[in-house]
Each structure stands twice: as structure tokens, then as C-alpha cells.
Point group: C2
Chain length 326, copies 2
């Protein structure tokens, strides 16, 4: 199965690496809006093409993995490409998923292709676990905690403050809240009770640090509703201690069964990731396999992880699956 | 959708309770090998029929949940019933799954029915998590730990020893081994390093306790390969402190990504269950829904959890799923 990568940032690099781990896949190449000769790929033998030329390769690519941003790239790219290719994206603006789904579905139906959206870990594996746990324990509550991990959006918000040279923001789940959930207390938790935010900031020379800190902790939507800690560090410390992009989190559902609902159960799904983009890329690549299998069987239209039989995500025979994985 | 229960032990009672939690389902009734008038159901309005009469109700039941034992019941019951009903079972003898699958598939294909086997938590939700995690992180190792929970098979093995009146055996995961796995050490663990076994035994009057203890800890297959602790208690203590059937466990996969495989990730799925049979029943009922939906679309033959699109397990609309669960 031949995989194309459309867009080449951290996520695209992750896909380039993930494809190499799957012997049933081959990397056709990368499509970029930059001048191909200036792009340094992770593996030196990866072909690089111009994004504008992608339609010339319609018959050479089985699944195109679209690695763009959710704010402006994917709402345009995925519907545009889904008419011509089997595609998959990691669209993660939860509130706009129904709209994105509808747009992508029109194109994919028209072209007879499978287009899978919102694949990664949240949306993605976390969504799957929310759904499975709710199906099994309809009488219960679920909780999603994120972190400890770097939030790109919050880091960017800090960087836009006057006097800030660079910044890294970590989202941290509140251990006490997690314990209450695990103890099946079914607590009602406010935003502040669930997560704290920890910021590492490099200030420009002569900048007013007190003012920067105040602007961060009072920033609406991003920080005002959280307990936020700000640490000023040097550029060298930032590069040395905060260069990675770790993330993770946990989905927990507590539910009750029995005649009087007196037996309690918890289902917990937890991720601890050294690299958010590489893990997301690995999920995309597993589901790219499913996209290919589904379209090969004649399926078409927009799909999500909810529509995929688990067997389609993996490269093992049915015999092996029954004998060794079930 | 009308659900029938075939076999009425702890698992069947769990299914009876679980169906009540799902407003899209109705309980048609219970089929038992006992005399129906002697069976006390959890809910007093549940109809009870003779197992031998089940074929008279072929057209009244959408999915029959077969609640028998894996050793002798299910290998006969499921192939027999799959020709006439959509069925689901919790067959859990891992080594014999391929054989059971083949037998059930012949009947289900013949009758044009969907027959789902080996549904529960292991096999079942644990299998799903092993598969998903392997698909995402092909370069890694996975580990399954069971417990802390009651093992029925091991409890029964103790009861068969001369001088034992009653017994309860708990399987306990070794916390140190779990920590090594969570720390991504990718350890090679022996049977003894992964789990310990703790036994609560009621001895008959005048029985030789030292002899009983020796017979337990040296019993091949069941205890000899484990560190086993034996506690002698009274019948009253057993009833008071060990009446429940809790269980649980964890599936963890650690894997690496990136050019040099230097980014590590862990995916962990953990269950903590007050009642093993009620939770297993809840999984069966969610997948009974999928059996019904799949057969309604014209699907037939033997299936496992690997073949089921997650959306088919839940009673919510596609619109709700996209807007609120993804």
C-alpha cells in the first residue's frame, strides 16, 4: 500500500517515520508547499514533490495522509483532496467536527473514496474509549484528563505577549481530582479542579516580568480559569529542558451494574507519550491501513474511528488474530 | 430489540440486569435446563422457559445471549443455536478459540445469522486493546496482568482437595513488575514474577491443615509456578469478607517511534470491577446490539470483537456521536 504525506511539519515527519515501521506500506513521497529542494526529510531517500502537483499522482497513491493544521488548513485541504484520493486527517477542533464531516463526505462520495477525519488520540483513541466505555456502562460518568504535556496553542498564546521571546506551556492533571474519580466518587469537577497550567517563559532583555506574568495568568479562555504557575528561565534552559513535545492523558469511566446498581466498575485508558506528533502519526498510519482496506472493499464517504472494525487497523492474518490476539 | 438469555447462572443474571439499563432493548426471557417454576429471577417479571423449547421462539428473539461454561457447554451450545438465532457467547478458553470459531461459523453461515464469540473482558476488551495498541505501536511489547480478583477455576481446584470445605482464590498482580513495565523497561517476566496467588480456605473439622496447604502450593499448573499464600479462615469469615466476585486487570503496551526509535510511549487499559460476571454481561449486551445491527444489514457468519465497528455497540445517533463523543 502506497502512502503519500501532504504537509510536512512535525506530524508529517512522524508519519514518515511510522510508515517505515510497517512492512506492508511504502512511502510514495511528501507533498509540500515549500520549494522541494529546500526540504530536509528525516530519511534521505524520501521523495519530495510540490503540493500543487499532487493531482498528477492520483493513480500512484493508495492513501494520502493530510498533515495540516485544524484552524485553516484541514477545512480546505481535506474536502479538496477527498474527491481524488483516499485520505485521512487529524482534524481536532471538536466543536467543528460535524461541519467538517459533512463537507468531506460530499467530496468523498463524489469521488468514490474513503476519507477518514479526526484520527489521533483526542479526537481518536480517547474518543473510542469514551464510546466503548459508555456502551458497556450506560449508567455512569466519564472524565477526560490531559497531560502532563505541552499544549502548542497555549505556548503560542504566551509567545504573542509583548516582551516574550519564547515559551512552553504544560497542561497538568490535578492528581487529587484523578484520585477522586478513580475512587468512584463520581465528583463534579470544575475546570480549575481538573487541570493546572505550568509555563516556562524566556523574557526578552529588559522586559517587565511581573507584567508578563500578570498577562498570562489573567488571559481569558487560555489561563484565567486555571491555577497557572509561571517560571522565567533562560533560552538555554528552555532548549535543554523543554525541547520535547511530550503529552498524554487519561479517559476514565465509572459505572454501576446490578439490580440496585450497587456494583461499581472503572474503565481507564491512559497514554504517556514522549512525542505527541509521532504518536498521533502512528495512529494515523494504522488507520490509513483501514482506509485502504475499506475502499478496496468498495466502501466510500467520510468515516471516523467509530466506523472502523479494529481488525482493519492491523497487518496480521485473521488466523493469527484468533489464535494469538483474542 | 428482543434479547433472550440461554443459561442462567451468575452471568445470565448479569445479562438480565444489563438489559434493563438499555432502553433500546427488551428482555424476552430466560431459557434454563432447570424446571422453570423453580428458578428465582432477579426481576420478578422475567419470563422463564425450558431450554429444550428454545426453537419454538425462533421468530421472537433478535439476539440470544448464551451464558454457559467454556469447558463443556459453549462448544456444543453455540454451534447448535447459531443456525437458528443471532447469538453471542463469552467463550474464554483462549487455546481453543480457532476451533470454536470454525464450528460456529459453519452453523451461522448455514442459517444466515451473526454469531459472535469470545466477548467479555479477556477475551474481549483486553483483546481489543492488545490489537489497537499493536497496530499503533508495531515496535513494542505488550503485557497483560490480571487481578486483584477471584479466579473461579483456582477456587474450584482448592475445593477438590480432601479436607477442604470451601475456598476463595485471588490472583494478584505483582506491583513491582507492573512498575517496571510502566517505566518502559520492557522486562522479560516469568510467571512467578507477574502474579501471586492468595487463598482463603475453610477446612473441615479435624482436617490436616499443613497437608492442605502443601497440596495447594505444590499443585501443578494451578499453583506450583506461583508464590502462593494460604490463609485458613472460618466459614463465617469467608461469607462475610469474600462473598463478592471482584476482578480486573491491565493491558499495557510500550513502544517506540521516531527515526532512531528513541521516543517511547505507553498505552495502558485498566479495569477495576466489583463484579466480574456483571461486567462481562454488560460487554455481552453492548455487543448483542452490534450483532443485531450487523445481521439487519445482511451480515452473517462468526464474528469477534475485532470485526465490530465501535459505533455498532452503542445506542446513540451518528449526529450525537460526532458532536459529543468524538
Amino acid at each position: 500500500m502506497k502512502i503519500g504525506i501532504y504537509g510536512y511539519g512535525n506530524l508529517g515527519k512522524g508519519v514518515e517515520c511510522a510508515v517505515k515501521q510497517n512492512p506492508d506500506m511504502e512511502l510514495f513521497g511528501i507533498f509540500t508547499r515549500r520549494e522541494p529542494s529546500t526540504v530536509k526529510t528525516v530519511f534521505c531517500d524520501t521523495p519530495v514533490y510540490k503540493a500543487d502537483d499532487v493531482l498528477n499522482y492520483k493513480n500512484d497513491i493508495d492513501v494520502l495522509v493530510i498533515c495540516g493544521g485544524s484552524a485553516t488548513d484541514l477545512p480546505k485541504m481535506t474536502p479538496m483532496l477527498a474527491e481524488h484520493f483516499n485520505v485521512i486527517d487529524s482534524f481536532d477542533t471538536h466543536a467543528k467536527i460535524p461541519e467538517h464531516f459533512a463537507n468531506v463526505d460530499i467530496s468523498a462520495q463524489k469521488g468514490g473514496k474513503v476519507a477518514m477525519i479526526s484520527v489521533g488520540w483526542d479526537p481518536g483513541m480517547f474518543s473510542l474509549n469514551r464510546l466503548y466505555a459508555t456502551a458497556i456502562l450506560p449508567n455512569g460518568n466519564d472524565y477526560t484528563f490531559w497531560g502532563t504535556g505541552v499544549s502548542q496553542g497555549h505556548s503560542d498564546a504566551i509567545r504573542r505577549i509583548e516582551g516574550v521571546e519564547d515559551a512552553r506551556q504544560y497542561t497538568v492533571p490535578v492528581e487529587e481530582a484523578l484520585e477522586r474519580v478513580r475512587n468512584m466518587e463520581n465528583p463534579e469537577l470544575t475546570t480549575r479542579e481538573k487541570h493546572t497550567r505550568v509555563c516556562y517563559v524566556v523574557a526578552k532583555e529588559g522586559a517587565d516580568k511581573a507584567k508578563i506574568e500578570h498577562e498570562i495568568v489573567t488571559m481569558p479562555n487560555y489561563f484565567a480559569d486555571y491555577d497557572t504557575t509561571v517560571h522565567f528561565i533562560t533560552k538555554e534552559e528552555l532548549m535543554r529542558d523543554h525541547a520535547g513535545i511530550p503529552h498524554g492523558g487519561v479517559v476514565i469511566r465509572c459505572g454501576a451494574t446490578g439490580k440496585d446498581l450497587d456494583n461499581k466498575h472503572t474503565i481507564e485508558y491512559k497514554l504517556k507519550l514522549d512525542s505527541n506528533p509521532e504518536f498521533t502519526a502512528s495512529v494515523l498510519v494504522a488507520y490509513a491501513r483501514a482506509v485502504y482496506k475499506m475502499n478496496s472493499r468498495g466502501d466510500k464517504g467520510c468515516k471516523t474511528v467509530f466506523d472502523v472494525a479494529p481488525a482493519d487497523t492491523i497487518n496480521v492474518s485473521r488466523e493469527y488474530m484468533l489464535a494469538h490476539m483474542l
